[in-house]
């Protein structure tokens, strides 16, 4: 069962995979041991537990409806109430002497630190983005360096994320070919898999400012290869033909869904669907939310420096390094172009200095 859940979490990340919420002991935690909060996505809790082995930690698994931290925070399944509820109902306060909660920074789009603090009395520290940095974060007295705060998407992370997001579509396509066009099934499976590895391994270096343009660039190369192989083998005998054509169709789908992946996560598909007038499919919204309107260009990040009180929250939690602090200890909107509309700064800014007003047409 546990293995099946890991398998599901790995390949079907678009769907929830809940594990039991509540307090878990890692090692033999005592009254001084750190208290970490995470989501109740099965794979996250398993990976976290493995990484934290050897440390003594209280782990609060909060209800995120079985969705991973970043997605659940974006969709507000992981929110201030999830954290307040787990802190109070687990009665962790009776087990520790301190009152410091370490929260996952990618949860900052959903969890309002000030709300949690006022409702529980616990102080909030944002941990590092990647679980593997947690041991060092604890060793360094709850401090993250710049690299520990940024989402980077190295090769392994790219393949892991893309696999979790795309496998269900790949599978559905496979079943479609199996039922209706079995002679094309092998071509589809092989091309899909090779295109997947090639696209997501190379995507930071493929020219093009978004995923779709990167895919078009690859398609042009594929057309070149097709023409070259046609001229060598002749059209009838070209065994590569079906594979190349499949790859040409599949790569733009990858690019469209997962954008650039290298450092920017938003999908190009969402604004595209919104433009077509499809605002919602099931429980997934493509329009009408602050995030989608930021992505669709209907809203814009705005910053009023005079309101900033220098709490550093925005610079702490921005996974893209959009915000920095200047010499007078106020926030600076340094890299607007890197913003992926996760809304974390909007949620955390207590002073209303950071807003996302609608853009006048």
């Amino acid at each position: 069962m546990s293995f099946l859940k890991t398998f599901w979490g790995l390949l079907f990340r678009l769907f929830p995979c809940p594990t039991k919420t509540g307090l878990r002991r890692i090692g033999s935690p005592g009254p001084e041991s750190p208290v970490l909060v995470t989501c109740n996505f099965d794979l996250t809790v398993k990976r976290l537990t493995k990484i934290l082995r050897g440390l003594n930690i209280w782990l609060l698994v909060a209800d995120s409806k079985g969705i991973n931290v970043w997605c659940a925070a974006g969709g507000e399944e992981l929110n201030s109430h999830s954290v307040v509820s787990i802190v109070k109902t687990s009665e962790i306060a009776a087990k520790v002497n301190h009152r410091t909660l370490i929260l996952p920074p990618l949860g900052a789009s959903g969890i309002n630190a000030a709300d949690v603090k006022s409702q529980t009395g616990w102080k909030i520290k944002w941990g590092p983005v990647r679980a593997k940095d947690i041991p060092r974060f604890i060793e360094d007295n709850f401090k993250s360096d710049v690299n520990m705060k940024r989402v980077t998407y190295d090769l392994k992370e790219r393949l892991d994320t893309a696999l979790g997001s795309l496998f269900p579509f790949y599978l559905v396509g496979g079943i479609g070919f199996l039922l209706f066009a079995r002679h094309l099934l092998m071509g589809y499976l092989v091309s899909g898999a090779i295109a997947f590895v090639v696209y997501f391994s190379l995507c930071p270096w493929i020219p093009g400012k978004n995923g779709f343009r990167k895919a078009i660039f690859l398609d042009v190369i594929l057309v070149g290869i097709l023409i070259t192989t046609e001229s060598f083998f002749g059209r009838e005998d070209n065994v590569f033909r079906v594979y190349l054509i499949f790859a040409m169709i599949i790569i733009p789908l990858y690019g469209l869904e997962l954008g650039g992946m290298a450092s920017t996560m938003p999908s190009d598909l969402d604004p595209f669907l919104a433009r077509l007038g499809i605002g919602r499919i099931g429980n997934v919204a493509f329009a009408g939310t602050i995030r989608t309107e930021l992505l669709n260009g209907q809203r814009e990040l705005s910053y009023k420096r005079e309101l900033c009180k220098g709490c550093k929250s925005c610079a702490e939690i921005c996974p893209q390094g959009v915000w920095n602090m200047d010499d007078s200890k106020r926030a600076v909107l340094d890299h607007r172009e890197a913003c992926t509309a996760c809304r974390a700064c909007l949620v955390q800014c207590e002073e209303g200095a950071i807003q996302a007003p609608k853009v006048k047409a």
Binding site: T21, G22, L23, S85, T89, G282
Partner: protein, 224 residues
């Protein structure tokens, strides 16, 4: 009685929630609330956990009770407040936006009864334990708790039938709302475990629904 699975979809439109819920459940959800209300002595001071739009609270007010309700959903609370305004209930029914985690802020030995319908199946185990512990704390000695909710059937055959019928309904609900409910494995045991004496357990709808009536023991074994 599987229609309560659709509750989360109907919650998206709080104004028509009760009417639609009544329609899809063919009046059974309303009947459950009426049954709960009948258990409460007239004139009681009642706490309702997850009061939704205030349908049960209104029934209790008709029985001359005073109801203090809370609900986590802002739109439900909004809707309940509209009902209070429209039906002029403000002396008899008060509502706040809060989850069960806020129950530790309620005064102890204060209420005559605690009621809850179709809420515990949305809570985690910890939340359930916490809610029952604090229900016991806020109740006066001998006070009544009545909980009606979706439960796991007792026999294996019924459990299998229940799961098979329920699964597609849950999938549809989840697809529309990203939410679902979880039938409770041992509701009666959980209530007993919180220090209550079970007075009555009525199971219905293919053993998938239960109403449990219990009282706070006089000897004060409750956790403070």
């Amino acid at each position: 009685m599987f229609s309560y699975v659709f509750m989360k979809i109907l919650e998206m439109r709080p104004r028509s929630y009760d009417r639609r819920m009544d329609k899809v459940s063919k009046g059974r959800v309303r009947a459950v609330k009426e049954a709960v209300a009948r258990e409460i002595p007239e004139g009681s001071l009642v706490l309702e956990i997850g009061c939704g739009t205030g349908e049960l609270a209104t029934m209790l007010v008709e029985r001359h009770c005073i109801v203090e309700g809370f609900d986590l959903s802002p739109s439900m609370v909004e809707s309940a407040k509209e009902r209070i305004e429209m039906d002029n209930l403000k002396d008899r029914f008060r509502v706040v936006e809060m989850g069960v985690d806020g129950m530790d802020g309620l005064p102890k030995n204060h209420f005559d009864a605690v009621v809850s319908t179709l809420v515990f199946s949305e809570l985690s185990d910890d939340e359930r334990r916490f809610a029952l512990k604090h229900a016991a704390r806020v109740l006066k000695s001998g006070g009544l708790i009545v909980i009606a909710d979706e439960v796991v059937p007792k026999t294996a055959v019924r459990r299998v039938i229940h799961s098979i019928i329920r699964l597609p309904l849950v999938a549809v609900t989840y697809f529309a709302t990203k939410h679902s409910t979880r039938p409770i494995a041992d509701l009666t045991g959980a209530i007993r475990g919180a220090g209550f004496r079970i007075e009555k357990e009525e199971r219905s709808h293919g053993d998938s629904f239960a109403m449990v009536v219990a009282t706070k023991k006089e000897d004060g074994t409750m956790v403070a």
